[in-house]
């Protein structure tokens, strides 16, 4: 009975082209605990460099890169491009490690079983994008040849611009990444999809916070070298702090979950995941979770998997069923890509609708978000949101073909599929007959692991063939629109503060109005 949703999610993932993401997640699971040590050792020997896991490697470009850098280093900006590129690849890979839809589940099965063992699952073991970015900036400092604080700051600003632009536009793609295999290209394409303009806000606010941090540190110590050492030392702590934010938020947020309550979530947020998993496993709360499917990246479905893995009774509904389901919900819990100055949030598209609905029905809407996502934007409506890459709209043409080389970042291509017809036909053929019971809007994800396991195994073995078959399966059910139809696919929307009850952050529980306070104090 759950096979529909699973099939569907797999299919969707495939249309979006993220199946290529799987090569880049070789061993992230093992790394989290000792990543700092590895990081510090990293620069020393090439041997170690060559054998360290790839995503660890990228932040510290290898010997070749360093040589290249020497060659060009007469020119500061060129150095920065290299630095920036290393930054990029770091960000992109760790992003796919953290966010890649497939990293922990069927699609991108990372083969090794060690991922599964880390109990508070993937959420706690992956690095959030802004933290990765901060680490990149730390590396930039480490390798910087700047002699003055101004110089260093300029370099950092360049580097963060490169990263932010990449998140925004998806380019320029690092061409200097000679040390990477063909996988790397796959990585960047995927990442562009993964970032899909969404993480842009989080990334830029994280970078901005770090730059502010540097500025402040530079005021302390007049001596540049000393200052640099101190900045590095404190910056490392700063990154630690950002990493710990998640566990702190889960601790704070758990107290809001009462036994027997039903929680509705939207999108896939690692903070929300770790919060719920903590509540279920550590605090032994008993509650139900209802997950919205999360078109188009099936974020909700992916999140549902980790909830089920944590033993939380989970139900998946279509995004459009949020109105139907709201009356039986006790609280809505979402993450956020960014928290803006007026206390509103920017989050996966649909959150606004959810917020309005929740308010109407008197259901509290809580937001679990790290404080480094606070950003100095002041949008008044959705049109005020910063340009998320390729706008939000694209004209559809064509059938299933790639229209052109550039994938709409913000408006990643949408395919429209008659899932019902497809599943009605395909269940008979490809799936076990027993599972076609619920073709209604509510598909229950059972707590059984089996479905996932088989799915996973299948994917691990022969990913491509399975998915080729899947496209063939899907093809008749994809509905092609005439090219005159405009398709809008905004990745995020803006939820004004009045729809938000409270924010769970690592600074504590905040009311929306406290956000601007924090931001103002930051600059004061």
């Amino acid at each position: 009975m759950n096979s529909h949703s699973l099939r569907t999610s797999a299919g969707q993932a495939h249309w979006m082209g993220n199946s290529v993401s799987e090569p880049i997640v070789p061993s992230r699971a093992r790394c989290d605990s000792d990543k700092m040590q590895i990081l510090q050792r990293m620069m020393t020997t090439q041997d170690e460099y060559m054998h360290s896991p790839m995503w660890m490697r990228v932040g510290n470009p290898g010997i070749q890169d360093r040589r290249k850098e020497m060659a060009i280093s007469s020119h500061r900006s060129s150095v920065m491009i290299i630095n920036g590129n290393s930054a990029l690849t770091w960000v992109t890979t760790s992003a796919s490690a953290g966010n890649a839809p497939g990293s922990n589940d069927g699609i991108g099965g990372d083969g090794a079983g060690d991922d599964q063992q880390s109990q508070p699952p993937r959420s706690s073991s992956s690095i959030p994008l802004p933290v990765a970015a901060i680490r990149v900036l730390l590396n930039v400092i480490r390798r910087s040849k700047a002699e003055t604080m101004m110089g260093l700051q300029a370099e950092l600003r360049d580097a963060s611009d490169v990263m932010v632009n990449f998140a925004k536009l998806g380019g320029p793609i690092p061409s200097t990444s000679a040390h990477t295999s063909t996988n790397r290209n796959a990585t960047t394409t995927t990442t562009r999809y993964i970032l899909a303009g969404r993480s842009y806000i989080a990334l830029s606010s994280g970078c901005e916070l770090f730059l502010k941090f540097i500025t402040r540190a530079s005021l302390d110590t007049p001596h540049f070298q000393q200052c640099k050492v101190q900045v590095l030392d404190r910056g490392t702590r700063f990154a630690e702090l950002a990493l710990m934010a998640r566990s702190r938020i889960s601790t704070i947020g758990c107290s809001f979950i009462n036994d027997g309550c039903t929680i509705l979530t939207h999108g896939r947020s690692s903070v929300v995941e770790s919060l719920l998993v903590r509540a279920a496993q550590l605090e032994k709360k008993r509650f139900n979770v209802i997950v919205l499917e999360g078109r188009p990246d099936a974020g909700g479905i992916k999140a549902a998997k980790s909830y089920v893995k944590a033993g939380i009774p989970t139900t998946v509904v279509l995004d459009s069923a949020m109105g139907y389901i709201m009356e039986r919900v006790d609280m809505v819990l979402v993450g956020a890509e960014g928290v803006v100055e007026n206390g509103g949030i920017v989050n996966k598209v649909g959150t606004y609708a959810l917020g309005v609905l929740a308010k109407e029905l008197g259901v509290p809407l809580y937001v679990a978000v790290e404080s480094y996502k606070f950003t100095r934007l002041y949008p008044l409506n959705n049109a005020d949101l910063p340009d998320m890459g390729a706008g939000g709209s694209s004209t559809s043409g064509r059938s299933g073909k790639e229209e052109n080389g550039k994938m709409g970042i913000g408006g990643a291509k949408l395919r429209f599929l008659d899932t019902l017809a497809w599943s009605a036909n395909s269940t008979a053929a490809t799936l076990s007959p027993a599972s076609s019971s619920s073709s209604s809007s509510v598909a229950a994800v059972s707590g059984k692991e089996e479905g996932y396991e088989t799915n996973k195994v299948g994917n691990n073995e022969t990913t491509t063939t399975v998915e080729d078959k899947m496209t063939d399966d899907l093809h008749p059910y994809i509905i092609n629109l005439p090219s005159s139809v405009t398709i809008m696919n905004p990745p995020v929307d803006f939820t004004p503060a009045k729809f938000i009850t409270l924010l769970f952050t690592d600074l504590g529980v905040l009311t929306p109005s406290a956000v601007s306070d924090e931001l103002i104090r930051l600059t004061a």
Partner: protein, 488 residues
């Protein structure tokens, strides 16, 4: 790892040890504490009335108590309890031999736990007072840490290291970055922020905290200070099985400060005088809120509201008051009597008539049991209905509350937050329960209501009027964020 100078207070490192510590070194203070707890448990504060400390309108209060002593009088003893709590803390802190700010904070935390338990967890003001004193201690300890460390740092004075220490301290003095966790203080990345609220996790936490420990030790410790910080950390991790949080104070809290006692006592004295002037400060604002010819609706009995209305009447304002009787305790009757005695035009209605009469009301004045961190209000049961009726009719809802009712907690449990179910004897006569049918019925008698912040327009406090959305800010000014959830 404890500073050698303070061997006496050596076991004052865990709030659970406080009673034992008092027993060993300060039996007199322990007796004081026991006495207080007994009175608290027996509810003696209400019958004994007001002491000399409770100046001002004590005569009126006595009369009030006499008039309704048989009735529900939970709200009346509150200021007495609050004042007496501060007095008790003052006498214990003033006469016991704690050495450092960290020890003092531990002592306070232990006392807070004791008093909370003795009060049956029903009186949030006790915790609030302890938190405020803790905040004062932190404030004083943060004020001049440079001076303090200069005494303890004598051996390990490597130049660059000292430089770093100094800059960190400079940072803390200049910007008060250590005071509370905020976005800007995160920027300083002080190690205590990393360790501060580290939650216990089943796996992976061990190596994490170890690393943190190393960080704390290496970066800005000055030998003894940082070392004891580490010691406390590990100890806290062992003993805090029941609570998930444990405190890890900044390193300079472990330094001995001779001027600390003096300044903390002064801070407590400030709190005392604030409590004494509480009603005076609130009532000064009465004329701003109560205008001539207005019809004010209030609910049941509240000392603060009563004095507030009387203060307005004393200024020759002519207004009408409608009092909801406040079933089942009928505090409204006593309230109406008292108001009428002061020459105010008073009407009593039964609670069910609230909605009917709301259309002609100009302002609703609600009593407060506690003000919550999100701007919500805990008020006598029935107030939520009043607030909803006011909202429906767009009547402004004003709450009068002293700042000692400001609680750093969120309404996690909705209507059950800080609530209490008391004997249903006021709802149903026990003699009727002999009826076989009635004995099958369940009678519930909740004391309080939770009123969400959107139903409240204004809080009038002793430090001014605030919107509910501003409450979070007041919390940051009154309590340190680390002390929010120290009493469970």
């Amino acid at each position: 790892m404890i500073p050698p100078s303070s061997h006496l207070a050596a076991n004052l490192d865990d709030p659970h040890n406080v009673r034992r510590w008092l027993q060993t070194y300060h039996p007199k203070q322990l007796a004081l504490l026991n006495n207080f707890e007994i009175s608290l448990r027996l509810g003696r504060f209400s019958t004994r009335g007001c002491d000399g400390t409770d100046s001002g309108s004590s005569a009126q209060q006595q009369q009030q108590q006499a008039s309704s002593s048989s009735k529900y009088q939970y709200g009346k003893e509150r200021r007495v309890i609050t004042t007496r709590t501060v007095e008790l803390l003052r006498s214990i802190i003033g006469s016991t031999r704690w050495g450092t700010a960290a020890q003092l904070l531990t002592l306070l935390r232990g006392l807070g736990n004791e008093l909370h338990a003795a009060g049956g967890y029903r009186e949030p003001a006790i915790g609030n007072m302890v938190r405020r004193i803790m905040y004062a201690v932190r404030d004083e300890a943060d004020r001049a840490p440079v001076m303090a460390t200069s005494t303890s740092t004598t051996t390990t004075t490597e130049n660059a290291h000292k430089m770093e220490v100094l800059t960190e301290q400079l940072a803390s003095t200049n910007l008060r970055a250590t005071r509370a966790l905020s976005l800007s203080s995160v920027l300083w990345a002080h190690p205590q922020h990393i360790t501060m609220k580290h939650s216990r996790q089943p796996s992976g936490s061990v190596d994490y905290s170890d690393r943190m420990l190393a960080l704390t030790d290496s970066s800005d410790s000055t030998g003894a200070g940082g070392g004891s910080g580490g010691g406390d950390l590990s100890l806290g991790a062992d003993t805090s099985a029941s609570t998930h949080y444990y405190a890890c104070y900044p390193p300079h809290y472990y330094n001995r400060r001779d001027d600390l006692r003096q300044s903390v006592m002064e801070a407590i004295q400030e709190i005392m005088s604030e409590l004494e002037d509480l009603h005076k400060n609130i009532n000064e604002q009465a004329v701003q809120h109560i205008h001539a010819g207005e019809i004010i609706l209030t609910y049941a009995l509240s000392k603060t509201v009563e004095l507030f209305l009387k203060a307005a009447a004393a200024k020759k304002r002519k207004f009408q008051v409608i009092v909801c009787e406040g079933s089942p305790h009928f505090g409204g009757h006593a309230m109406a009597k008292s108001l009428a005695g002061a020459g105010i035009d008073t009407t009593v209605i039964h609670d069910a008539a609230t909605f009917a009469i709301m259309a002609r009301v100009n302002k609703v004045l609600l009593p407060a049991h506690a003000v919550l961190a999100n701007g919500g209000l805990i008020a006598p049961s029935g107030c939520n209905m009043v607030a909803l009726a006011a909202k429906q009719n767009s009547v402004p809802v004003v709450t009068v509350a002293g700042m000692f009712k400001l609680c750093p907690m969120y309404p996690h449990e909705g209507q059950d937050t800080l609530n209490d179910l008391i004997s249903p004897s006021s709802v149903i006569d026990y003699s009727l329960l002999g009826d076989p049918v009635l004995s099958e019925v369940e009678f519930v008698n909740p004391v309080h209501d939770y009123i969400p912040p959107q139903l409240i327009d204004l809080y009038v406090t002793n430090i001014g009027g605030f919107q509910p959305s501003y409450i979070y800010r007041l919390l940051a000014e009154y309590y340190h964020s680390d002390d929010w959830d120290v009493f469970e």
